[in-house]
């Protein structure tokens, strides 16, 4: 490293107790690193995003239980086939799977808590923000036009 440029200094072995000030500024816009205008998330908005959703929890419980039942029945079918017999299912087993699927669909798509509605609204607002604030310049791609 040298400071051969005219008007530039080599500063060596000195002690400073006040800031060193140089003239200058931004040389070029770093286009490829600049993405869209960041969304300014408030603390409240952050708390909305972090909230746990109860219908989602119930969806996972019912879906898990139903999947467990299906796996158990699959095991039953395999054992029956190994014994060269036709598999037989109790009515309650088939009903449980049906009810499990129905409840899972309800909790996944039909029942929305107040928190979930608020979260969807916020996600949509953030989405709109990024739609309206498209990348200000060419950016982000490796070897992109920004260089």
């Amino acid at each position: 490293m040298s400071s051969d440029e005219p008007g530039k200094k080599l500063i060596e072995g000195q002690r400073f107790d006040s800031p060193l000030i140089f003239g200058g500024g931004v040389d070029a816009e770093p286009q490829r690193y600049i993405a869209e205008k960041p969304y300014e998330l408030t603390k409240y908005e952050f708390s909305v995003l972090r909230k746990k959703d109860f219908p989602d929890l119930w969806f996972k419980i019912f879906m898990g239980a139903t999947a467990g039942l299906v796996i158990a029945l699959a095991g039953k079918v395999i054992i029956s086939l190994m014994n060269k017999q036709g598999p037989t299912f109790a009515t309650w087993e088939l009903c449980s799977i049906g009810v499990g699927i129905l409840l899972s669909i309800c909790f996944r798509f039909l029942i929305k808590s107040k928190e979930e509605k608020e979260r969807i609204q916020l996600v949509s607002a953030i989405d709109n923000h990024f739609e309206e604030n498209k990348p200000r310049r060419v950016h982000l791609t490796k070897g992109g036009a920004g260089k």
Binding site: L10, Q14, P19, I21, F22, G23, P30, K142
Partner: protein, 147 residues
């Protein structure tokens, strides 16, 4: 990021070594027209904040790395308990290691991909064409200001 609005999680190292220069008890290394582009803080791991200019006037800044989290998928932050490095498609722009509990050595700094004429290796620091080696800066809020 403005000098009077630094992140609350930011804890400066007591001593930083940058291009053979010693910075003792300083808050920030560099300001550009009142904006702080780089912060290197202490914690369980070294912590870095990197803001880059979004326009040539240096009035708008973009948070590229916030507390070791990169907002650009092409910019990777590698963190270990005692070291940190930042890679971009233009090559490494920052690397450093914790030498002692409260001493950090910056082994590589290159802000040129972001349009700032600031770079350093282990021997010297270059700011706007001026070269600094083996200097001492003590008890300062800002080491180098660019105006």
């Amino acid at each position: 990021m403005k000098l009077d609005n630094l992140p609350t999680q930011y804890i400066p190292f007591k001593e930083i070594r940058l291009g053979s220069n010693t910075l003792e008890n300083v808050t920030v290394i560099l300001t550009i027209k009142g904006n702080v582009p780089l912060l290197v803080g202490n914690g369980d791991t070294p912590r870095v904040w990197l803001y880059i200019p979004a326009n040539k006037d240096g009035t708008e800044w973009y948070p590229l790395i916030k507390d070791n989290f990169s907002s650009n998928p092409d910019v990777k932050v590698n963190v270990a308990p005692k070291m940190i490095s930042i890679r971009t498609p233009d090559g490494p722009v920052f690397a450093g290691l914790v030498a002692k509990e409260d001493k950090f050595v910056i082994t590589k700094l290159d802000l040129r991909p972001f349009g700032l004429k600031v770079y350093a290796d282990e021997n010297s620091l270059s700011v706007m064409g001026n070269t600094l080696t083996k200097n001492q800066f003590r008890n300062l809020k800002v080491v180098i200001g660019i105006d």
